[in-house]
Amino acid sequence: MNGLVPLAKGETMTAEIGLLLLIISLTLCLLTAMSPFMPACGVKLWLKPYQPLFIRLNSLAQMASLFILTYLFLCDDFSVAYVANNSNTQLASLYKIAAVWGGHEGSMLFWVAVMGSWSCVISLKHGKSPFFHFLHAVLGAIQAGLIAFLLIGSNPFARLLPGIPVEGRDLNPILQDIGLILHPPLLFIGYVGLAVCFAAAIAALLDSSQPLKQHCKQMRPWAVLAWAMLTGGNAFGSWWAYNELGWGGWWFWDPVENASFIPWLVATALMHSLILGERRDRFHGTSLFLAILGFSLCLLGTFLVRSGVVQSVHAFAADPLRGGAMLTLFALVSICGFTLLLQRLPSLYRPVNSNMLSRESLMQLGNLILLVAAISILLGSCYPLLYEVASGQSISVGAPYFNSLFIPLTWLICLLMGAAPLMRWQISNPGILRQLTVLAAICLLISVTLNALLLTEFAAHFLLGSFSCLWLLGCTGLYLHKRLAAFTGAGDNRRYYAMCFAHLGVALSILGATCSSYFQQEELLRMGPGQGKELAGYTFIYRATETVSHTSYNALQAKIEVRDRREQHLAYLYPQRQTFNSNAMQISAAGIHRSLFADLYISMGNRLSDEEFLIRISYKPLIGWIWIGGLIMMFAGLSQLLPRKMCQESRAPSPQLAVKGA
């Protein structure tokens, strides 16, 4: 196809090879998807033994295709439309690599390639039972759907011929940040993890040769990895918005944020449900439901984000044409999944045999509340859209609504999260209940006192936040105390410690969120050289306005000196207003002085006169703990996945475990 047009210097067929590999991969995916079903259709085409081969070749083809796209970015091949739209010769090499997933087409390719590799890893690690055949088939089908979508509607290798631009349009300036390198890959790996769980759920429903417990046990590490990655993805996303968007917020309940947060909530419930199922051989139906729901919601979220039907501050690669394809995929996946689940539902039933205050009952209630939170947030995100379609008028649903919904639900979840580990399996534990009541009274007392001392008025959200945090810390402490007292040196304790750390991470995040929103101090003022302002004991002195040039942007920056409470020099902060060379887009970058206990955050607004700018100074106590908590959660999850040589043999029942002969 290139032969018709004279090749420019250095131009090759590389992009076409990438496209070809993608087409090969589509074929391999379809073969993988069909292989377990072929004999059943009466066709004498035994593809089944070749399935592992297809999977490996497929993974290779996809990885090669992804590397080719990366290569095209690195050598600035602007004849490829995707490269021309998302890169520039002046872009730093690291961002050229990150730009591969910086736009719609590339990010879908990245998603597919990760899914192929994950499938390949599973096929290398595990045997050839029917369960795995079905699992790979489902994953193959999903990949085939995504690749077909790529090839038909959004080919990343499409050429701009014959009018090859000399210079690329730049990567969206907002994306030129360390956040782009970390946030999307983590999120996509998390989404793929949920896709793998979905495939496993479908496979578990299709394959009745083994007990469900066995299948759900297989799913657990994948769910934990998916959860850890989604945790990291959300945490980095929020951190990125905090640094970059210039308003000092870290979570805005924007539809795009919600699109990745809802799957996280479902993944959290799924992970806990799988743990329950493994220990109690119950609740498999819930786990399968959550696995199917989790991936469906990923697709729905992708639809919301990519189609541009919702208005977002993080508008990313929005195009209405893409919406239809994602919506179709979502409908297919959810209809198939839920129909299959409904069909098998009667066989999933297990009699209930546990007390209301047993560990499993509380965990199950917690999972249900997580689910309620996820569905409510989804409803809130979609409501303006639905309302507009139904009535033609537009409304907004934003932070005040979501906060008044999510904070009480979080409080409930924290209550259960703190108490559940202290309870016994199956039966209630009256002794611990008394201790917990005392602990709850103490927490309530402390949080009411804090409210009365620190705030001028009654603040329900503050009470809920501080109570949740204290309660979680108290319960986790109590749990660790009991566990260490009963420590015998035997058994696999790592899981329990990982759980403690993850719950501690939640407590720290809540602490950070509560403190930073209630004790933040803020000034919005006009400032010019020589002017100063005192805030929270710190003195901020505007020293000078400077111009800075960078390879990709020119910036005006304010040099602001910060002095601490004793009038000692603390730091210079440089908030900037960057103007990008490529597209003249203006963005602001905050100047932040981070410390463990408080961040000083300055952002630079519009120019008000020759000398003066609108400057926003904020003092944000403990805000960093939000992300420290997130990181702790993520690493607690990842620590579960390390090879466990020493703890393989003994999953000794914990001292508290009392199994009634049922």
Binding site: F252, D254, S312, M356, L368, S396, S404, A662
Partner: protein, 148 residues
């Protein structure tokens, strides 16, 4: 005692769930504006601005937005507060000027009832399931004990 503590828990939950919606209402509707210190005024202005949507930007509150109209409206809010208007009156003023779209907390109406009641119903459903399961567990356990 256990039953009692759980009922207490439920009551507290419901109260806290409903509490914030009431907390959205201004706390000093009857207050004389002279009583409010400048710091309180500023705090209240920020609170109002954070709950309103900037008419210009994609999806940002007035407080966060840096567009000229947002700055103008922030000044307007402050001015009206100084004149002694309440939060509700200011929000109503903004809604009259820019439509329902400007507020991030939609008002309760027939069209938005689902938005407010669906989460409550779902939560009630979850708790109902939990209580029912506990009931059936109790009967299961007694029947087990009967058999043994």
């Amino acid at each position: 005692m256990m039953k009692g503590s759980w009922i207490l828990l439920l009551v507290v939950t419901l109260v806290t769930l409903l509490g914030p919606t009431r907390a959205q209402a201004p706390t000093e509707t009857h207050g004389n504006p002279q009583w409010r210190t400048p710091a309180q005024l500023k705090h209240q202005a920020i609170e109002i601005a954070a709950g309103l949507r900037c008419p210009m930007s994609a999806n940002q509150s007035l407080q966060d937005s840096q567009s000229p109209i947002a700055n103008e409206l922030k000044a307007e809010i402050y001015l009206q507060l100084e004149q002694g208007k309440t939060s509700d009156e200011i929000v109503d003023f903004m809604v009259a000027r820019y439509g329902e779209r400007i507020r991030y907390m939609p008002s309760l109406s027939a069209g938005t009832a689902l938005l407010f009641f669906a989460p409550l119903c779902l939560l009630a459903l979850a708790i109902f399931w939990y209580l029912r399961q506990a009931g059936s567990a109790a009967s299961f356990n007694t029947s087990q004990e009967d058999r043994s």
